[in-house]
Amino acid sequence: MFFLLASSAASASWNDPYPSSDRGKNILYASFRERPKHFDPARAYSFNEYNIIAQIYEPPFQYHYLKRPYSLVPLTATQVPQPHYYDGNGRQLPANAPTADVAYSVYEIHIRPGIKYQPHPCFARDQDGHYLYQDLNREQLRDRHTIADFPHTGTRELVAADYVYQIKRLAHPKLHSPILSLMSDYIVGLRDYAQVLRDALGKGGNEHGDYLDLTRYPLAGVEEVDRYTYRIKIRGKYPQFRFWMAMTFFAPLPPEADRFFSQPGMAEKNLTLQWYPIGTGPYMLTVNNPNLRMVLERNPNFHDERYPRGGEPSDEVAALLRDAGARLPFIDRVIYSLEKENIPRWNKFLQGYYDKSDPSDILAESFDQAIQLTSGGDTELTDSMRARGIRLLTSVGTATYYTGFNMLDPVVGGYSEKKRKLRQAISIAVDEEERISIFLNGRGIPAQGPIPPGIFGYEGGCAGRNPYVYDCIDGKVKRKPIEEARRLLAQAGYPDGRDPKTGSPLLLYFDSPQAGPEAKAVLDWTIKQYKKLNIQLVPRVTDYNRFQEKMHKGNAQIYRWGWGADYPDPENFLFLLYGPNKKVGAEGENASNYESSGFDQLFERMKNMDDTPERLVLIQRMLEIARADAPWVWGLHPKEFTIEHGWLHNNKPHNMTHNTVKYLRLDTELRARKRQQWNPPLLWPLGVTFALLAVGAVPAVVTYVRRERQVRR
């Protein structure tokens, strides 16, 4: 063992998990917890997928890195266009036309000329201009297992047709794009287009497997105007559509790539778009081994993009503007290592082998070590962390976690005054503040409604409180006392948690998909909350599948769930309570199956408005209705904490976008020094152990000698 140790310790830190040849290079080290399932931009819809592909695929727009509230800026487009509105007869309407008159909106997007794709074998051509790898047979593919096995690469200029192509792909029946059904409601002709493709594909597929040359099938609502311009026609008015166009669903995809990966034999070797993204972004994926690591390499063809100049006033202080105007990206390579267990991840961060933690990384367990609350109730890093030069970045996440009541349930559901009071009583009893302090270590704020801070419609302080759960005392929001909840419960027909007629205790069921070591603690705590009202809560724990099935059938009673924003608009949260969006029957996201005609009418008016004071009034009225009905115990909005080492610069938490790696800069020299300083190998305990073993062997030797002597005698 000593030998092995010695050989691996030729250089300074013995516990360095990276090869010594990479030492001192401009590489960002990050981790991923689970292998991402989809890198195809038509499919990818979760954070761990975005973390990678947002660095590669470039939709026409992006969010401004520094400005808050979140605002859109062009990425490959020349500007963020205002839609043109048309009535049913195709006449153009003025921009301030009433929503009801608008039959179609048209977005016309110009992209910047001269943007080039990353080097990729699908573009590779020989001297005569023929594609090298577009007509391969199985034999030629035999020894090629990864994209790196194709030696030649090429590139091409980005054109508007690539954007059109990708929108068409959303309808491809074999891709199962999660937003197809939503977009079919808006993009003109998309629903029919999906049918056309389904017919074209036939039941059994064709000789090229599932490949369809989408360029041959026109899509009514999306057209290529010229080489650098395309147009999207939307039904009605849907201002949120511009946010969708900042997501990778609307990134460009070259048809050559689709054709390349559709060649027979490719899919069997995992050579698919699902696995190998191709884009115009600052980075390209060069190694994709989800069992071990993924590597992003700087795209040599990346277009000229500059670090933003303006930001929030605080950005100057935070040294976020030092690189203003500099060319992006700064970092040469990003290595994401697979790290499933929390503890190794956290310890490696402390040892300097990860440059920053993801927001989800600072788990409650390591929290005490890193972060403390100040006497003012704020959070700051502990002294030991600050001494290491570690920084803390906080932001309130655009997400909400809530406890929902199934409104179809005979016990907790329904809209009568009694049922409403029952739910309100429970809302008071479930102490979200305590949940935040025990399980999140203060990393959250109690929710007053579905809308999280940072989204239009959110109000802080006493004005924005939920008056059914919180009082306003001396200008401070305070949870109502438990006596109030007991009173409400009595009015709801359960004095002291009993049914007065039979004397039987009120028995409620809590459906939870949670498992793992934390689950028991959380469940125990939840039971305790209902116990305050003498309500007997029975948890029904199942796996996530069963949980979802229960939700779909409407068999749950009380459940806990969450929602993270797709885009920064209140519509994306309020639609979780919109009647026609019910889970049962309508397969929507309204998991409580809440249905209130007043709320629904207001929602329909509110959803297509711009962020005006009138819209705020509508939202306030909607919140009032929902709070009175209490279909949810408005839970909490998580606060997201990121901590980073002193050598990482320009990091600003951004909840809407993930293409932020390009802004980051590293001080590799400082990193190398700190790593060495923090990881001195300690050898003496090993020495002591071996010495002890040697001492322990003495009696054995003594016995041996004695026996040998006996034998000789």
Binding site: L5, S8, N15, K37, L180, N291, L338, E549, E587, T703
Partner: protein, 325 residues
């Protein structure tokens, strides 16, 4: 000999069919195609049409075992069981439910599993033999008694505790090795040390105890007494005769487990982030990826049977009196 092996291999076929049917039934009860579809389509915005078309794509829209609508042979072959299970017999593991080629993954990950399991086995056997021989030599003395008590104590500690304590001590406090991770090739050495050390320590208790009984059994035999009476020193008796004969049960015990080394250790691999087959299996269980679980069950059974055959063969090698019929 060859005839024997062929016969045993043929005998394995009904066993493997049984294994397949059993796992198929169990996992299908747990995880209906609808569940699989939902799991793979993600959390947000999943519609019934999407589920239906996912099932159609992955051949999960067929009847389970018997297709009464199909004609002729298709009654059996156009079913989920046939499409997904029987190909295993030609080691075509098919694709995982996320589209990855399972055979490719298995052949890649196998080496990481071996890199941990093989050194653990070898070092473990060596240390266990050494300690057991020492104890057998010192039999009856207070050292033997206390050695056995320590062995029992070491056996009574959960492997999880060894891992947690080992990581804490060697990686976090002493900075000697990386906490977790893996690199292919020779770079694996620094990642492999800790799991191997922990695995060995965890196995010392039980192993030493077992091997000591082998040694004691041999030492009680007549030929040892004769050798001793001839005036050979105790150490020579031990190395010349006892060790040689005790190696028979030790080796046969080791041979059975060699094929199973490929599968790796579930717990070790997931604690140390080693991309072997053990962590592959755990992931598959947690993600309910039916294809991978089925493949791993099948692989495990095959290797187990290979182990049994190897054991029989190794008997004949170490003891020529035994003949295989």
């Amino acid at each position: 000999m060859i005839a024997y092996i062929v016969r045993r291999a043929l005998y394995a076929i009904p066993i493997l069919i049984g294994v397949n049917l059993l796992t198929f039934a169990l996992f299908f009860f747990v995880n209906t195609p609808d569940d699989m579809a939902r799991l793979h389509l993600g959390v947000k915005r999943v519609t019934p049409e999407a589920i239906a078309s996912w099932k159609a794509d992955h051949d999960y829209d067929k009847p389970l075992l018997w297709n009464s609508q199909a004609a002729g042979l298709d009654k059996v072959s156009d079913t989920i069981f046939f499409r997904h299970s029987l190909k295993l017999f030609v080691f075509d593991f098919g694709r995982a439910d996320d589209g990855r080629d399972i055979s490719y993954d298995v052949s890649n990950r196998m080496w990481a599993s071996l890199a941990i399991a093989l050194p653990t086995l070898l070092v473990g056997v060596l240390i266990n033999i050494t300690v057991a021989m020492m104890l057998a030599f010192l039999r009856g003395s207070y050292l033997d008694t206390w050695g056995m008590v320590i062995c029992v104590m070491m056996m009574s500690v959960s492997l999880l505790f060894y891992i947690i304590a080992g990581q804490y001590l060697f990686s976090k406090l002493l900075h000697l090795v990386p906490i977790s991770g893996y690199a292919p090739g020779f770079a694996a050495a620094k990642f492999v040390i800790l799991p191997v050390v922990i695995g060995t320590i965890g196995g010392i208790g039980a192993g030493t105890r077992l091997y000591r009984t082998f040694f004691l059994e041999e030492m009680g035999k007549d030929y040892v007494r004769t050798a001793r009476a001839k005036g050979l020193s105790e150490v020579r008796v031990l190395f010349r005769h006892v060790l040689k004969n005790a190696m028979i049960p030790i080796l046969t015990g080791v041979v059975v487990v060699i094929p199973l080394l490929f599968i790796g250790s579930l717990v070790m691999e997931s604690f140390f982030g080693i991309p072997g087959l053990g962590s592959y299996t755990i992931d598959a269980i947690q993600h309910q990826d039916f294809g991978i679980v089925r493949a791993m069950v099948f692989l495990g059974s095959v290797l187990y049977i290979v182990g049994l055959i190897l054991t029989d063969i190794s008997y004949t090698v170490v003891d020529p009196r035994i003949r295989l019929q």
